[in-house]
Symmetry: D2
Subunit: 345 residues, 4 copies
């Protein structure tokens, strides 16, 4: 039985993590820490847990002294907040999975450029492994510090990888038009995510400036073995969960959908959570699950390939993948506690 | 390992049932039958099953010849459609759980009055057990034919029962104002349940004429040991799942919320799926789960009691309770395969 | 041309008011004041006004000095905030329409009991007219201070009035089960009205304690000429706009729907904005308009009458009725600037 | 006073048209024809019209004999259904605005290729004017037959035009990623547009095959004076109304956002319904109005321009633009009856 703690347990990703870990047969939740709700009964904040998980949240400041009790800590905090506690955890031999952005970019200068603040964890950054499980499974297994990918990068990179590896897409032609549900904006009180403000509208945001851009570029560049710059446009969609990532690129060679589908099926053949489909992905079919559905289409008239992927931003895009990574790190069966499909409708 | 079949597997309740049964460790789904989609791959209709459940639906007409293969059949068809197949199943020693209305009313004349058609199963009606698990657990265990309750009656009766049994409510004063999500209207193509027609509106419907009225009255009368007539008003709410039932009645004696809460806690103390709360129930906290949350309030100024209950109409209000009943019938642990809380948001 | 000011112009009711007044042919908006957005361009807050209304909001504190410029002030502030400015406006001969609760209850002690604070406007309270236009049109015409009704009371009282006046309903039997869209909760940043928290759920709130209760009782009592206490239960529904009020009561005499419908049609025959319907009201048919749709049903089995009314909480329930009252006060045609039906879907 | 008829008046676009025309001071609705609801009271189908527009729908087959009564007919029917009645109307001297696709493509072979059926109106096709008002105002004025543009083409072309005219975008690099609300799918009963099927999901559809592609290419090619092929991807978004069109292209020259914004402001300076914004467009700000909001962004890192436009698909994307065109054709002030901004929320 492994013991874990969750930091940021009352945010949307944190509570999803807690939901999953409660059902994990080989893991025990030692504590759930919350910045906003320290000292409060978790089931008063999330009424679905009433009678089933009545633990009291500890405050974030109590976490340090509890590190001795655990084998691994999940950090689900805003960027910039993970540096210190991650260092302390590692010092005590506690493994770390950070669901935030602090250890995703290899180059601290790039972090500082896009996040507008200095990188407070340079000493441990080099040992951080980018936790896209399907890509880095072996490194994750032995890592002490896993940087769980962002939601948009997860959806986008899984869709892009086979084309990049095979050199089938002009690397300067890549455009990612991605759409996210509102839970991606978090649970903090804010006028802009009120029901009335976002239930009957769609908008693009952070055009050409979103912080997930360098993260996608970094991993795409590694796969293609050349430096890639791409255009990334996120959107806010009036639904609670889900990301749809639509990727455009110019093909380097004439090919057809069948051939590309087979390439994807081969690439992801052994992967439990990647489903290559002929039908176009829809977020409802992955909602609440750890799956990533992918479909490849060719626009023959223009010579472009269009890859579409769908994930649940709180699952494969956050907590689900974090558990998947933990399973890898602890040598558990990889799908433990995340082995279920979407409940619909 | 018990073998079961599902009739009406591509409706919302039917597919929820299939979802649950797939994860049941002691049950095997022998067939999924569909009126509309016979011969089609189930995972083409519900894309969340892609790669995980690729069985082809059989057509409803093929069910009869498959009865020999199963121990129990779930019937999730519109009312009037269960009579014949239920009879045939019983004849072959196959137990039946009907999620429709055909065996819920003890009196076939009442059925004919409210459903506007003759009752085609009078010979077996007398052995039907009303499948509100918490109420009739013992009878369900030995029954061959279980009439799974309607969604509104489940929410309403669980909320009403303690008051009725204790004689705390004037039986002529009961008003049930209930609100349901749109999945209750089913998956059939219809203009009135299009997104555009119901996403930004609320309405009452079937005022003073809804068919769940006699079902609630029948069971409430039994509990109170006198004939009860009550007012029942259902509403359509712009959400996918959930029922909130708000029940008003005049107290027969002066009492307070604390006393009533204790009464409810005592009544439902051993029940896994009934949660007596101080906080007011919200459907989000039970969505996708088999729980029924209940809260009792007193309006001292008017001498009324207000009981509020929340369920998921497709779970405790249909498929979840059907599995619960099956577990009882087969002697399994009652919460098997339905032992999880709501995923939020 | 009359000149008006709006206090609280950036809240949902305030901006709806501004929307309506912009189109009013006989009124000029002299200023729009905002507590949160003073000094900001109104069209940066509400992007629909871009290019069409680029005025800068003044801050609430600047309002006093601008009173000389206007004939009437609309106050759309939280309760407790209208006392002082209303007094000052009246002192300067400026007429007042308060959309908040400060002048709705005749008895200041009742205000203090339900609102938990002392009444700061006792000197002018006695001249306040309750602004349910259809009820008090003549008094409103000559009033200097109109207390615009709450959204729930508007829907509920219009539905109840004919029964009360005719003595057709047992006054001790009244239960109001009302449902509101989320805009009723205002535009302030709050976790509980985030899209993710309320888009797929329904809940009752403030059971037996909501502040609109005494307001409804006060006006109902006047109409019935006896003191009425009733049960009022509000609900939050996952839609942006709309209130559905469902009212239950025991009939004092045997009657039928036809007779009652005719009574309502007679009562409201000359009223532009009251539509007595046979079809059950749905909030979508009044959304964005000043109409109140009403339907009367009889539950013969139980001797109850069920009256259902639908309004738009920001229109007939707030800004629309405020303009209607202003039109009456200024002797304009009553439907000016609010004479349009709902845009659907 | 001009007299008009509406064919297809009970579809979403048709009823929006009727809504607008009812308020038009210089137009009288002579008849509203419906395929599905002939003989029924319009206000029974759309309850918002109760008491305000109680005309009975005529059936589509009665339209021909009513042509003598009108000056202009609006045709809001599925493609392929406008040929015959348009011909008959023109024969009788009745002007035609077709909201469908039958007269949008100049080349009947292209129509046959994309719509999979023969073109039944070749004799009158040559005189059809593509009714993008801002582009073809002069031709529309004198036309007998106006092909009202599709919703996606309206949003996309208005966003693209200035770049194309100025040669600022590589014509082979254009990608349009567009998102539509559900009303675009029409009011016909269909499982796929049920609330439960589309309220919590997003999907792309008709990838590389959507019929609006040749329409966009045709008009874009004219503007650029060279043949353009582009990639167009539509999406279904869980909201009722609105289209957001996001257009990507490679700049032919280095430039910045300021310069481009000024270009757009110059191009659209005199246009009432085009609003060039610095803030990113959101569909909520144009919902229910005839405006098209546009914003131009530059992704300096990749040399791309990103143009984003928002319209209401039923207004500027259908009925609103149809009224705008009618106003032009009749010499009325162009904004008559469509001169209002979005009601929010």
């Amino acid at each position: 039985m492994k013991k874990v703690g969750i930091l940021g347990a009352t945010g949307y990703a944190g509570q999803q993590l807690l939901w999953l870990l409660r059902n994990h047969p080989k893991v025990e939740i030692e504590f759930a820490a919350s910045y906003s709700y320290g000292g409060q009964d978790f089931s008063k904040i999330y009424g679905n847990y009433f009678g089933e998980f009545n633990k009291v949240c500890i405050s974030n400041t109590e976490v340090e002294e509890r590190l001795d009790d655990i084998d691994l800590i999940f950090i689900a905090l805003p960027h910039g907040k993970a540096f210190e506690i991650a260092q302390k955890a590692l010092d005590k031999g506690v493994r770390v999975i950070d669901l935030g952005a602090d250890f995703r970019l290899d180059d601290p200068e790039r972090y500082e450029e896009w996040y507008g603040q200095s990188h407070g964890g340079k000493e441990i950054l080099s040992e951080a492994v980018y936790g896209l499980t399907e890509l880095n499974r072996d490194k994750i297994r032995d890592s002490r510090l896993v940087a769980n990918p962002g939601c948009y990068p997860t959806a986008s990179l899984l869709a892009l990888m086979p084309l990049l590896k095979e050199g089938l897409i002009h690397t300067s032609s890549i455009i990612i038009d991605a759409k996210s549900g509102v839970s991606g904006a978090g649970r903090g009180a804010a006028t802009q995510t009120l029901m009335c403000e976002c239930s009957e509208t769609i908008k693009a945001y952070a055009v050409a400036t979103h912080r997930h851009t360098p993260e996608i570029e970094q991993e795409a560049s590694k796969a293609a073995n050349e430096e890639i710059k791409l255009t990334f446009t996120p959107h806010l969609v009036p639904m609670n969960r889900g990301i749809l990532s639509v990727i455009y690129g110019v093909l380097t060679t004439e090919t057809d959908e069948d051939t590309l589908k087979k390439l994807y099926e081969k690439e992801y053949g052994g992967e439990k959570f990647i489903r290559v489909k002929e039908d176009l992905p829809e977020t409802r079919w992955v909602k609440g699950s750890n799956y990533c559905d992918i479909s490849v289409k060719v626009d023959k008239r223009t010579g472009r390939v269009i890859v579409i992927s769908a994930i649940d931003n709180l699952m494969k895009g956050a907590a689900g993948q974090a558990v998947q990574n933990m399973n890898v790190m602890f040598g558990f069966e990889e799908a433990t506690a995340i082995d279920f499909i979407s409940i619909f409708p």
